[in-house]
């Protein structure tokens, strides 16, 4: 795209620099820091470029051998950045001076599309936001819609949500541990973790029919009851899993290389993390026992006994330890759920919102009408707004829904923990080595699907 602005007239801008300049030109404002970093040196005017060269020369005069900063670009396709995250890093030698995360490479427009779907169709879409925590996504969404509708969720459904949510936490932490190990050179951990994750996905498949992106929870409860034999298989899994976690710890916790790369890397005081909005294991590793399951119990978490693991170091190693400990606590909760699973309905008995049982369609005219209305038009949600926060594997995941009283949401917004936590990358990395940046990003555990939505 050609432009007559003097800033860009004489410079053959790379497509990307042009992009960065374009938006600022359109709004007639100077480049912001992020845009300036993305545009790179090509966006300097001739005068600016001359000025900077002069400044460098003068510096070199005063202090011979002074080093110039080096800009390198990690991503968006980088083997160690957890997906399509792009980090523009300014280095002084090997030390990170500045990091600018650039996100949006997986921006899927889910929030916009939810506004064009009915309330129950939107569940399919929100599942695919944070793709490592599909059950957490749906729980947050359905809980906020249930709040607006004023529906009571049956106890059994709540317990099933807790059960699957905790299994989801295990599966998510296993991916985190496996890939973090892979990124820091401990490849065998990946195979160990994925071995157990496969078992978990088998259980998910048993209950929902899909290995990922399950659409198992409905507004009002769960789509179906647990299949026969499920509880027994979960019990067998929970009996076996603690030994497996011991195996991971045997591989990593005492491993001198792992400790060297993790200890003392990426520390930020709890106050700073809180000001940045960071939640989840990252905040707990810095000593703040903020866990929504304890602080503001939802979905029946008040019935279960578990601890919130914390640490005071706040470095990458502490984050690792907290997550591993969380896996053990999740197992504790799962055991309590399967031991005390109550009987009863798995979905609320409200024909205006909940699909009638399949077999009733064969003989009941009302059921058929309800089914038809729900599937074709959807259910109406009273006007208002609601925000339902839950504790996802990465921190506080909240869903903010606004209804105008119709069959479609007016606004669906996910407060995704990855998005907010990722802001801490720059302050965490400053002053560390480039290789530590990988460890820091790995232990922040961002999921780009949730960051960009």
């Amino acid at each position: 795209m050609s432009t007559t602005d003097p800033r860009t007239e004489n410079f053959p801008l790379a497509a990307e620099s042009r992009e960065a300049v374009e938006g600022a030109l359109r709004e007639q404002r100077p480049l912001t820091p992020t845009e300036r970093v993305i545009a790179g040196v090509e966006a300097y005017t001739p005068e600016e470029a001359a000025e900077r060269t002069l400044a460098n020369e003068m510096l070199a005069d005063i202090r011979p051998g002074v080093r110039q900063p080096l800009l390198i670009n990690l991503g968006p396709n980088h083997p160690s950045t957890h997906g399509v995250l792009r980090l523009i890093v300014e280095l002084d030698g090997e030390v990170v001076k500045e990091v600018t995360p650039v996100i949006g490479y997986l921006h899927t427009g889910i929030e916009k599309q939810c506004e064009n779907k009915t309330w129950w169709q939107a569940i399919t879409l929100v599942t695919r936001m944070d793709y490592l925590a599909p059950f957490a996504n749906i729980t947050a969404y359905t809980m906020s819609v249930e709040k607006l509708l004023g529906i009571e969720v049956p106890t059994r459904a709540e317990w099933i949500r807790v059960l699957l949510g905790e299994m989801n936490r295990l599966a998510s932490h296993l991916v985190w541990l496996g890939t973090s190990g892979l990124e820091l050179g401990a490849m065998s951990v990946f195979f160990y973790c994925y071995r157990e994750r496969d078992q978990l996905l088998d259980l998910f498949e048993m209950v929902s029919g899909e290995r990922m992106n399950h659409r198992y929870f409905q507004v009002g409860g769960c789509a179906q009851d647990l299949p026969p034999g499920f509880i027994e298989r979960v019990r067998a899994f929970t009996d076996e899993m603690p030994k497996r976690i011991d195996e991971y710890e045997a591989l990593l916790t005492g491993n001198p290389i792992w400790k060297d790369r993790m200890k003392g890397v990426g520390v930020l005081p709890a106050g700073d993390l809180l000001a940045l909005g960071v939640t989840g294991p990252t905040l707990r590793a810095a000593g703040v026992p903020y866990d929504l399951r304890k602080v503001a119990p939802y979905s029946g978490y008040e019935h279960f006994e578990f601890d919130v693991p914390t640490s005071t170091e706040g470095d990458s190693f502490a984050r690792y330890l907290v997550r591993v400990q969380e896996m053990r606590e999740s197992l504790r909760i799962i055991r309590q759920v399967i031991d005390g699973m109550p009987e009863g309905r798995v979905i609320a008995d409200d024909r205006k919102v909940v699909l009638p049982p399949r077999e009733e369609l064969a003989y009941s005219m009302e059921a058929l009408i309800h089914h038809f209305k729900l599937v074709s038009e959807g259910f109406m949600v009273p006007a208002g707004e609601a925000y339902a926060p839950i504790e996802s594997p990465r921190g506080e995941m909240g869903c903010y829904v606004v209804s105008d009283g119709g069959p479609k949401p007016h606004r669906v917004h996910m407060r995704d923990p990855s998005f907010v936590n990722l802001q801490a990358t720059a302050p965490l990395c400053k002053g560390n080595y480039l290789a530590d940046l990988i460890a820091i990003v790995a232990t922040l555990d961002p999921v780009m699907g949730g960051v960009d939505r």
Binding site: L106, H107, G109, D198
Partner: protein, 249 residues
Amino acid sequence: MALIPPPGAPIRRSPRNDERVDWDLRDPLAAEVSKGLLTTTVEKAIAWTQTSAIWPATFGLACCSIEMMHTLSPRLDMGRFGAEFFRGTPRQSDLMIVAGRLTQKMAPVVRHIYDQMLEPKWVISMGACASTGGVFNNYAVVQGVDKILPVDVYVPGCPPRPEGLMEGIDVLRRKIGVNGQVPSSELIAGRRAERLAWEREHADELAALREVTAGHDVQQPGEPPVVEPVVADAEADAQARAEGRGDAG
């Protein structure tokens, strides 16, 4: 019912029935020569080596990339097909698995990475989003990665099971296996007609060969072709073409 054949009886093997892949192994001359030698063309030899060492690029976009990682897991182990070696740089990879939704912002990057890969290169479009846009039909998502890249294999699913991706890689291997492309049925029929003509021409020599090789453990050449009508059609077509009548029917 004798399950064990008497000593000295010729060993009968069931014919290889995957014509699309193994048609060259059914060539009688090749079968004869294969007792001592292996003949092939350079292209075929290279294609064969390529099928067993497809190195994918480490390139995951969204949910599907997690399932892509599961193909490396101990349960499935894509290493069995030589495709376990994920490379961090496009320069060292042969295969790009587009695993996940491709967004407008990412599309130029993906094309850039594809351009950096060296020939020969292949693309698998993994999952509904990469193939068609999937459930995301909106301003942000490119409706199918084939809008910007040539795609060799589409793997359906949301996300596909790891077994699905393995099947996709297997299809790709078959595709590469024969001179880089799957032989068309026309080509197979033509080759078979050619072979039968050759056999008729060399009937005496073949009979002599058969006598010589009667005691050996080799597949007996000159077995009746599997599908007669195809051959007949091909012959009729060839005859019709020779007589200048144009396409029949």
